[in-house]
Structure formats: structure tokens, C-alpha cells
Symmetry: C2
Subunit: 421 residues, 2 copies
């Protein structure tokens, strides 16, 4: 059906090579009628949309190098294996949250899955000023369900340990996160770039020793605290939306890590969307409603995450941690609530920290985001980015003292009116 030796697909070869796959014949129709487009706009992979008389499918194939950089940066095909395993677990833990997986070919590093239509990448929708009904609720639920159900709070201990071992193999994608998120932004690493007008604030951040200590504490948390299976790259480019629906894609960075990591990354990307809006104004204030909505999504993500996590804690806590045997069964239900409050406090502080580093690395590191990049005027872009940098620092260093998500929203509103260049 497919060759055992890896070869990258192309629109011309795809039907010839995958035309025999029963699931594609069933979902798309006979291969003679297929149209194939390559649409990958991410940094790493090939993505084909295959359409035909019976329907459509996505074929995602890893390349043996980083697409954004080229063949000079090799990257193992094996990331496709981790993406496949993450997708199947996410589907089980939060049904309907991710595309249905129809076929996996390990040798070809290839996943055949549901084609989401008329979905678009959330980040592009946000840049255009579009809104999505129920977005914060959906993403907050996704985080709570996948993060709770991938942990020792829920899984059989032996199963979690087996998954820790499995995802510990995702070395190369973790290496990208470890370097590009947690270290490179904080010194003049060769892959970095930033908008020229930021030189002053960048020098101040890279001279800030407490900030650099906080960043490395977060890096240690990321590498050592195997609390749950993370998506690992949960930004607004990893979400596809219609006006009323959201699905999460691209979990190839999946690894075991701290519960707050995904939540923090996700919130960071909405805060950056918020702080980038002035750069997209045509008339002063014409993005004000979009900004309000973006901050409402930030608040709703956290509130929904916290509420759903607490709900799962109270109804599905069947793992080896905080067992009912010790608490509820002894008439000590309040002890379980006390433990939950402690744990949520830790997750909150972690969330703020990871949120801060994500805001830094998207402006100072290799992988920038469209929210800022599409602001053509460098001066306006720098002004927006400087605010995000300042806010990231405040989240990282203030994590222990920021009382709740409302304080974060207020901080974003205030900083949006300030000059941080």
C-alpha cells in the first residue's frame, strides 16, 4: 500500500501511493477522482487536503527536517508517532475535541484524519477580528479534561508510567521547546530575531537576573514535572474554528509535563492577540470590541478550566493521588477540598509563569506569531510587542502574588494603554 522506506508525498504522488487505503477510498471515493492540495503553513510538516466524490480527508506527513528552517535542521520523523498517540488519547479524554484519526503509517510518518471544514486556523480569524461563540468554554474544557485524565489523579499508575516512558521518547520536539521557549529568548541566541525598535527593552529583559532565574525554574518544571500528557504546543495556531466550534490539532509536541503548561501557553496567545489589536486598527478604537471579547475568552478559559478540573476532581478522582480512601471514606471530604485548593493554587502559579515565557519567546525567539507579524508598521508593531514583553515579565515574577484571572485581565487592559518602549 505504502512503501516501507520513507518518502515525502507530493500532490502528484499522493493518489498513486495512498489510493489503495480502504479508509481513503471509503471517505473520499475512488482515487481517480481525487484532488490534492498541499496547505501546510506550519513550521514543520506537509499537510495535504484530499477531496473526491465521497468527501475529503487530511493527510499529514512529517518531514525529516524543520520546514521553517530547511534541511540544515534535521528533525526525526518519529514525531508523527507521538502526534498519533496524543491524538488518540485526547479523543478518548475529551471526545470531539480533535480531528478523528482514520489511519496511521509509522514508516511514512503519516496520519490520515478528518478534514475539518469550514474551519480556519483560530489565529488567522483573530487577526481578522473574528469571534467564535463558546470558544473559552470549549478550550477550558479541553484543558481540564485532557490534563486531568492524563494524570495520576485519574489513570491507573502503571498506565501513566507507561505513557511517561512512551512520551519520554519525544526528545527532539521537547528539545525545541526547552531551547526556544525557555532559554534562547533570554540571551542573544543565533536563531533569535526581534523587531528593531525593541532593542532597549530587550536589553533590559536580558539583563534582568531575577527574570532569567524564573525562566529556568519554569524550564526545570517543564522538564521534570511529569504530571500529565500535555498537548505541548497549545497556541491559537493549533486550534481550528468555525463561528461556533473549535477543534484542537497538531499535538506533535506532546510530552508529560506540568498541568499549567498548556493552559499558560493558550492564555498567552489570547493576551498577545489582545495586545496586538491596536496594530490592526484602521480607525482608532475599531478593535475595542474585539479586545473586550479576547479578554473575556482569557477569563472564560481559566474559569472553565478551574471549574471543570474541580468537577473531575470531585467525580473522577480514581487514581493513586489524593484517594477517597483517605478523605471522603473517612468523613474527611473537606481534606479533599483543601488539597484541591492547594493544587489549583500551584497550577495557577505555573500557568502564569508559562504564560509569561510564551509571551516572551514569540517576540524574542525564532517562532513569531501572525498577531504581531502582520502589523506592517514596525513602529506600531514594536509598541504592541513591548507591552507584551512587559506583561510577560510581570506574570513570571508576580506569579505568587497575582490573585486571580480578573487581575490578569485588568493588567492586560492597563498595559494596553501604556508605553513600554
Amino acid at each position: 500500500m505504502t512503501a516501507q522506506v520513507y518518502a515525502a508525498l507530493s500532490p502528484d504522488t499522493l493518489a498513486g501511493r495512498l489510493g489503495g487505503l480502504p479508509v481513503l477510498r471509503e471517505r473520499v471515493g475512488p482515487p481517480e477522482g481525487w484532488q490534492v492540495r498541499e496547505v501546510g503553513d506550519g513550521n514543520l510538516n506537509l499537510v495535504f487536503i484530499v477531496t473526491g466524490p465521497a468527501g475529503a480527508a487530511v493527510v499529514k506527513q512529517a518531514l525529516p527536517y524543520v520546514r521553517l528552517v530547511g534541511e540544515s535542521w534535521p528533525l526525526p520523523l518519529r514525531r508523527s508517532f507521538f502526534e498519533y498517540h496524543a491524538l488518540t488519547r485526547q479523543a478518548a479524554r475529551d471526545p470531539g475535541s480533535v480531528p478523528d484519526v482514520w489511519h496511521f503509517d509509522e514508516a511514512q510518518a503519516l496520519i490520515v484524519m478528518e478534514y475539518l471544514t469550514p474551519h480556519v486556523i483560530l489565529r488567522h480569524a483573530l487577526v481578522e477580528g473574528r469571534q467564535v461563540a463558546g470558544l473559552g468554554e470549549r478550550l477550558g474544557q479541553f484543558c481540564a479534561r485532557t490534563l486531568f485524565r492524563g494524570s495520576d489523579l485519574s489513570m491507573r499508575a502503571a498506565d501513566r508510567k507507561a505513557d511517561v516512558a512512551l512520551f519520554a521518547g519525544n526528545v527532539d520536539l521537547c528539545d525545541i521547546t526547552e531551547n526556544l521557549v525557555f532559554s534562547d529568548p533570554y540571551f542573544a541566541a543565533t536563531l533569535n530575531r526581534h523587531t528593531p525598535g525593541l532593542d532597549g527593552i530587550v536589553a533590559r529583559l536580558r539583563g534582568d537576573q531575577s527574570l532569567k532565574v524564573a525562566a529556568q525554574h519554569l524550564k526545570m518544571a517543564f522538564t521534570t514535572r511529569a504530571e500529565t500528557m500535555l498537548h505541548g504546543d497549545l497556541h491559537t495556531g493549533s486550534v481550528m474554528v468555525t463561528d461556533t466550534e473549535a477543534r484542537v490539532i497538531d499535538p506533535e509536541f506532546a510530552t508529560y509535563g506540568p498541568i499549567g503548561f498548556d493552559v499558560g501557553m493558550l492564555i498567552a496567545n489570547f493576551l498577545m492577540a489582545h495586545l496586538s489589536q491596536p496594530g490592526h486598527e484602521r480607525v482608532p478604537g475599531d478593535r475595542a470590541r474585539q479586545q473586550d471579547w479576547l479578554l473575556s475568552v482569557v477569563a472564560t478559559i481559566w474559569d472553565t478550566f478551574a471549574a471543570e478540573f474541580a468537577h473531575l476532581w470531585r467525580t473522577e478522582r480514581r487514581g493513586i493521588l489524593y484517594q477517597a480512601t483517605l478523605y471522603e471514606d473517612q468523613g474527611h471530604g473537606l481534606a479533599a477540598e483543601q488539597a484541591l485548593a492547594d493544587l489549583m493554587g500551584q497550577i495557577w502559579r505555573d500557568t502564569l509563569g508559562f504564560c509569561g515565557v510564551e509571551m516572551h519567546r514569540r517576540i524574542l525567539g525564532l517562532a513569531h506569531n501572525a498577531d504581531f507579524e502582520r502589523i506592517a508598521d514596525e513602529g506600531r508593531r514594536a509598541a504592541c510587542e513591548a507591552r507584551a514583553l512587559a506583561m510577560g515579565r510581570q506574570l513570571m515574577l508576580g506569579a505568587g502574588a497575582i490573585p486571580g484571572i480578573d487581575a490578569v485581565v485588568r493588567m492586560a487592559r492597563r498595559i494596553d494603554k501604556e508605553d513600554h518602549l
Copy 2:
């Protein structure tokens, strides 16, 4: 040489089955001249001492069940595999700290190693009132070197992740720790037992909700924080000594976990040795010098651990965490010191917490220790154990407020004079 199907050795069959092993012939001499004794006094395994004209060796073989309990509690032979891998890593990270391994047979779950003589088990020596010169320094060094060098502070990230995956397979021995150390002591689990006179204090501890929350936070730290390769069972029964030397044995519980775990367990066992001394008095006060020495060992273990860890931090920090690239290379050496202080603070708090649970589980759980068990008079034993229980609670709940090891030593001296029944 040995059969591929596992079979437990006996003194009668050992020479016949292992007589062909070149390393045994070389180290012990021709098998015709071997004497074989089974000396295992631990809870889990067979241990044979093989002596002959050329020397001696130890043959340690796992049994497929818990020796302490019997065949009703099966336990995989695979623990021998983890012990072997832990021993080789400890030998590399702290040369001379563990017995030399000469041969490993995975199918027979069998390790052939150096026979330590005239070494005795440290716990027995302590019960008898013996002292070991340089003990605290040696054990503090062992902790610092193995724990630092098994972490992302030192290892290549890919190697550490591979070891995390490897030791994640040690499910069954982790399960013992997870249940017997962190959960069973805090409710009336079926395997528990305690000295009858303790009923009152035991009821108070099991009704203490904050204590039970703290115990589960420590359990979560143990299961999720894969900071370094732990010995995993570092008590005074896992150390063999002469009057001037100490070697660490039996790392079959090895797993990735928090740096403070081994240090806390070890210190707990010296604190219990201290608090048990009044039970071994023949004349009031005849153990006072031994008590002073035991507390000096407690202080020296921590002080040496902290000093050696800091030394390695300053001279061998070549892993992916807290890189010199970010600190020293930028003229920010003080940032590295700031990060070290933060990390040592965390390790210290963890150490106190794990120290506390170990003091509880040795008195309330399944596996008791000779320090207390050899006090024949139940009333005296209960009085000593009650002090240890009270101290364990204070360490677990006060971890954030106990300033240093001197405060722990003062606490032990004070509690030793109090009645906690």
C-alpha cells in the same frame, strides 16, 4: 551457563548452577571449594555469600514474591534489572560508593557482586550503639553526587529522558512506596500494624486533615517530579559499614523522583535511631553520647549534601537547566547563585516532608525498623515511637518554616525529652 527459565537458587544448587561463571571462578576460586550461605535478612530477596580459596562474592537473586509476606504477594523479578542499572549508574556517579557489580543475569534476576567484609548493616550497628567515622560526610556526598549527576543539571537531556523511560518500568516497587509510605500509614489499611500503646496518637494523626493533605502532596511530588534517579529506599538498612567506611546497597526501588526524597528518608532513619536510643538504655543516660553522635550525623549529612551539591552546581552544571550561557557567560554569575539558593530551598522543604512520612510509615505501616522493634518493653517502645510520630508531623506541616538543619536537631533534642503518648 545458567538456565534461561528462572529458578530460585539455594545453597545446595548455587555451585552447580553458577560454577561455570568466569568471574566467580576468578574471584572465588574453583567451585569445588565454594561454601555458600544464604544471609538475606531484608524483605524481598535471596542473598548468598559464596566463599572459596580465592576470595568471596555475593549473589543476590530476586524472588517472584515479597519475602516478608510470602507467595501471596507476587513481585516481578524485573526489579533485579532496575537494581543492576541503578548500581552501575551510582558507581559511575560516585565511584566507590556501592559494591562492584561483576555479573548480571536478567533471566535469573541475579546480580553477582563484591562481598563487603567486615561490613555490617548500619542499622544493626546503630542499635548496638556503634559509631562510624566519617559517616555523615560519606552519605551526604553520595546523595549529592548521585542526585546531581542523575539530573538535567548534569546529564545530556536525551540520556536523562531515556533513563526516565527505563526506570518508569519499575512500576511494582514504586507501587510499594506509593502505598506503604504515602497512603497506608494515614488510614487503617490492612497491612498496617503499630505498638498497642500508640492507639491514641495514631487516631489523632489519622484524624488530622492537614497532615493527610500534606502526605498526598508529597505522594504527588514522588510520582510526578522526575528530577533525578533516586536510590528509592535509602535507609540505614541499605548501608553497610565498618568503623570507618560506608557503602550503599540495594537500590532496587530506583526510580526518577524528587531530589529531596533520598536525603529525607536517610535523615529520618537517623532521627528514628536517635529517638529509639532511650529504649535501648541499660542505665539511664548510657546512650547520651550515641544520641549526640546520631544528631551530629544528621547535621553532617545535610551540610555535606548541601555543600557538595553547591560545588557540583558551580563546577559541573553542564545540563540543559540553568545554563552558564544564560548566567556566567553574560556576567550574571550571581543569577546562578540565586537560582541555586531557590533550588536548595525547594530541596530542603521536600527533604523535611519526605523525612516526616518516613518516620510515620516505619511506625504505622507494614515495614517497621529494628531501631524500635528491638525495644522489647512495649511501653518504652511506644513512648519512643510516639515522639517520632510527633516529630514526623511537625516536619511535614512545618516544612516551610523550619530554617535549617540546626532547627531539626534542636527539635529532635526537645521532643526526646517530652511525653507524646
